[in-house]
Symmetry: C2
Subunit: 287 residues, 2 copies
């Protein structure tokens, strides 16, 4: 499927082929990374935990001082879903990601410090994904020496496009590994490019609190643990947990709960529970 | 002048209106800030210190592992200049900036970690600027508490679009100030959004060594000082210099040597010397 086969929604411009939805070469969203975003998964035509994603998108936009236009996101998402299905499209898309991006355009002055006069730009789009699977491939994760930019610079719980150090870490990973976890300056575990991490140790799930996104999937893992009275702790985690954890799993909206080279029965249990929630009326919105 | 009146060069696509030169909404250059760039000023039809900018662009691309395509940048820049003048264009542009940007596109997989399969995208473009002036407006600069992402994360001497903390600092500046200087985590002076800073103290010019761009204009200030046997030192500078410096000036390719609320005869002297160099055959390339 090509980028031109998909339809996106561009604020102030309407529904357009995805190839026409990007920023211009002048936009601060591109040249200053002055943007935020969120991604909501769709399983079998139903958006999962949509309100969590929308709420976080709103909080992130506020944190980066990107004033959200007065739009109805659910209406736009439903229309996007319709326009990317037959008979409007040649493809049927049941499993997908909904992306929402807001960024600053460029001011008439062209001055890089004239931020207040740069207009707000926004795009929603949908692209196909694969259904979740419990027996999916295992990710071989490497604990990198690269440092994740810490919350002292900007709070990573608010999604941003500042992936420079994550890209460097990913490119520098050892051969045979699939991806990397980054550390903080004080040797705590943070996150990897596009995912959170959970450690199973002492019958408890530990996940980093600082210098990382507070991912919706990990939050869902927290809910699962709460429902089943399994201990779940979000805190600072020193990097020596890497050597002693019984299990290590990854969470992301793209992959749900993902097994690593060190996953076992707890990871499998979480995958099963997570999968059930993706099908439940409680957590899904019919598109 | 509108974005559609300018012609850019897009690698693999040729010369196009600037509105068609941007990244797509999927490109890693946009959604991962996986890009680098440089900007060379043009004064009266002559590119200034072009080789410095081209060399830095090459080093930056290497640092971020963005493989430069086999192109002839000077040929492209000359053609850009021609195409943005009469009779090709309705405007005559004598003073301008030449932007060069290289970024990663998006891989067919759509996987955010599939960096190796994302193609390289590149754009060169030119946009009009104003001629330099010694008696230009003074910038009222504020020393911000915001921290510049330090070299431990990625080396700021290699230009990047990671301006998130600079945008936050600029937006949070006190009323009545024009721009901001950011500090490092260890209370040293770094840089501001789009400029380096120099302090005159004890008959010496001090400029930060770490956590900032090694700007071409500041390098030129170093050459001026060398020619005139004026002391010039690039080192770590604690933030208390803010209170004791005799003069504070800014340097950028866009503004040359710019006076602040605390500039005097040394700043004026540097402005005059810099302006002369922008006209000299030694430092300029006829376009």
């Amino acid at each position: 499927m090509l980028i031109n086969d998909l339809i996106g929604y561009r604020y102030n411009k309407g529904f357009l082929p995805l190839s026409q939805c990007g920023p211009t070469i002048l936009d601060f969203g591109f040249i200053h990374s002055d943007a935020t975003y969120d991604v909501c998964p769709v399983y079998n035509g139903k958006a999962f935990a949509l309100q969590y994603h929308l709420n976080r998108f709103i909080s992130s936009a506020e944190y980066y001082k990107l004033e959200l236009p007065d739009i109805n996101p659910i209406e736009i998402i439903k229309e996007l879903y319709k326009r990317n299905q037959p008979p409007h499209s040649g493809y049927e898309i049941k499993d997908a990601f909904i992306w929402m991006i807001i960024w600053r355009g460029h001011p008439p002055s062209g001055n890089p410090r004239d931020i207040e006069n740069a207009p707000i730009e926004m795009c929603f789009y949908m692209k196909p994904s694969y259904p979740l699977s419990i027996d999916g491939r295992v990710m071989n994760v490497h604990l990198s020496d690269h440092l994740r930019v810490s919350d002292e610079y900007y709070r990573q719980e608010y999604k941003n496009f500042g992936w420079i150090e994550m890209t460097k870490a990913q490119l520098d990973r050892p051969e045979g590994t699939d991806t990397v976890l980054l550390q903080s300056y004080d040797e705590n575990i943070t996150e990897g490019p596009g995912f959170n991490v959970g450690f199973v140790y002492d019958d408890t799930i530990f996940t980093p609190l600082k210098h990382c996104l507070q991912g919706v999937t990990m939050r869902m893992v927290g809910h699962i643990c709460e429902d089943h009275k399994y201990r779940f702790i979000s805190c600072r985690i020193k990097n020596d947990i890497w050597d002693i954890a019984d299990e290590i799993f990854l969470t992301s909206s793209s992959g749900g709960v993902t097994a690593t080279q060190r996953s076992g029965k707890i990871t499998k249990w979480l995958q099963k529970e997570y999968l059930e929630r993706t099908k439940s009326d409680e957590w899904t919105t019919e598109l």
